[in-house]
Amino acid sequence: MSKIQNIFKVVSNEKLCPRFFRLCIDAKSILKKIQPGQFIHIRATDGLEPFFRRPFSVYRAQKYVEIFYEPIGPGTKNLALKKKGDDIDVLGPLGTPFSLPSKNIKQVVMIAGGIGIAPFLAFSDILKKKKNLELILLYGGRTKGHVYPMKEFKANGVKILVATDDGSIGAKGRVSELFSKVKTDPKTTFLYTCGPTPMMAAVQAFAKKYNLQGEAACEEVMACALGACLGCSIKTTEGYKTVCYDGPVFDLNKVIFH
């Protein structure tokens, strides 16, 4: 009984690098409305296993709605089996998007870990249109096979710094190793982050230390994704907030990471 539930057609589903897939969906009704940071909620089975739908950030929204995912469990493994022309049951667009940087911001630092890179390409598609805005991406992955080819980001004029746990590409270590390489300014820098909780907690600590503002795209297990079940709440300085409806994008300094 939701006006945003639709059955769409899969346009393509391909491996982009050893670990990551991209699924394109012909979803004009979503395309028209979706903003970076928002997500779609996909039914990954015709039956009841896995039981919940699965949430995915919108990776790109140009001709089609694209998602970027890693097959890790039953839901994403089912998705990887989707073929051109298959039906796909999607709810969306959902949630609160990234806010656009205000006029005084001259530098945007996007900090992503692993699959947390997903919402930033669509975001850089929009940010690149702004004049006098420096775009930086700090990206942390486990190893080379996890690092997505960055050419679309480069084409959007994004400066990219990479770290991998094993040093197989970029700096060795966590994405936090890269913080010191960026010269920030509390008045003109704005951070956006998405990734594993420990990484976002490190970004928050960095923001607090240097007095920086920012936003975090958070994750929690979801059932409805419509703000109805109150199952996806996380702790913030303003009490419990639903990731699906109040978020997934929150003020970086207000999330209480556990």
Binding site: M1, Q5, R43, P50, E220, V221, L226, L230, G231, K235
Partner: protein, 302 residues
């Protein structure tokens, strides 16, 4: 085709509704034309003071179902009446308001607050609430159930429905107590107390430690309980427990329920309540049944 059902002095246009806690909140997502087709709407349980709910993680999926431990997060009765009730009323179909008191006095005040507003079709008592001085829930104690139902019934302007918990040895004893106290209807079932353990961390996954199991996994037990209760009482039953399709809903009607509610499946398939309604109509047509009442409890002997 007559699909209408009466509970107390209230008439519902058809027997399909939603289960408390599984529908609502974001008005902007409703397809109003579709929601309007239902027989009634049941918003999430309202308590007297606002409740912030349980710490995360609050939900987890299980085979054909889920556990939840939301902790009845709600804005409290005043917040509900001020902020949420107007949007529910705007939908224009009967509203069944679910209330939960932590003691008799709270049930009394909640009833009086809803007596003072218009546009409410019935009260549903969420009896999965503390039974003061005992280690049980009200819904696990026939005397407490009798007392709470009797109290609300003596005050309420609208029909009173008692919602039962399946976490009991014999649900018919509780159902009988509710009927004797004057309940106009009974709804069942609420969720089964359950837990899931993270074997890596050797910890219970839910922040609240335990949660309630719902969804298709519990459906056959729910059908059985509805059947047992229908044989015991003569007031109408609103049935719920894993309803996903019209065929699931028909099982409950044939077992003796007068109305059916879609709960957990709203999260998986938001269209489920409408598909259920449509499918019931088709079944009646195919089987030449022109009044839904002919179907209720019409279970043939084996």
């Amino acid at each position: 085709m007559n699909l209408s059902i009466n509970i107390g002095n209230t008439t519902f246009r058809n027997p399909v509704t939603v289960a408390s806690g599984t529908f609502g909140h974001a008005e902007k997502y409703y397809n109003l034309d579709e929601v309007k087709q239902l027989g009634a709407i049941v918003p999430k349980t309202v308590t007297l003071p606002a409740q912030t709910g349980n710490p995360p993680q609050r939900i987890i999926e299980t085979p054909s179902g889920m556990l939840n431990a939301i902790g009845i997060e709600n804005p409290g009765v005043d917040g509900f009446i001020e902020k949420k009730l107007p949007t529910f009323k705007k939908i224009g179909i009967p509203l069944i308001i679910s209330i939960l008191g932590h003691n008799d006095d709270q049930f009394r005040i909640l009833t009086e607050k809803f007596n003072a507003v218009d546009g409410i079709a019935a009260l549903e008592l969420n009896l999965s609430c503390p039974n003061l001085g005992h280690k049980t829930l009200v819904a696990q104690d026939p005397e407490a159930t009798f007392r709470v139902v009797k109290l609300v019934k003596s005050l309420s302007r609208v029909p009173v429905i008692a919602k039962l918990s399946p976490n009991v040895t014999d649900i018919t004893v509780i159902a009988k107590a509710a009927q004797e106290a004057g309940a106009d209807g009974i709804s069942l079932i609420n969720t089964f107390t359950a837990m899931v353990i993270d074997v890596k961390k050797r910890k219970s996954i839910l922040g609240n430690f335990t949660g309630g199991l719902s969804g298709p996994a519990i459906r056959p037990i729910a059908v059985h309980m509805v059947h047992q209760v229908a044989k015991t009482v003569n007031i109408p039953i609103i049935a719920m427990g894993g309803i996903a399709t019209a065929s699931d809903a028909l099982e409950f009607l044939i077992a003796g329920a007068s109305m059916v509610a879609v709960g957990t499946m709203n999260f998986v398939n938001p269209r489920a309540p409408l598909e259920v309604l449509q499918g019931i109509k088709e079944y009646m047509k195919e089987n030449k049944i022109d009044d839904i009442k002919q179907l209720i409890g019409n279970l043939h002997k084996n």
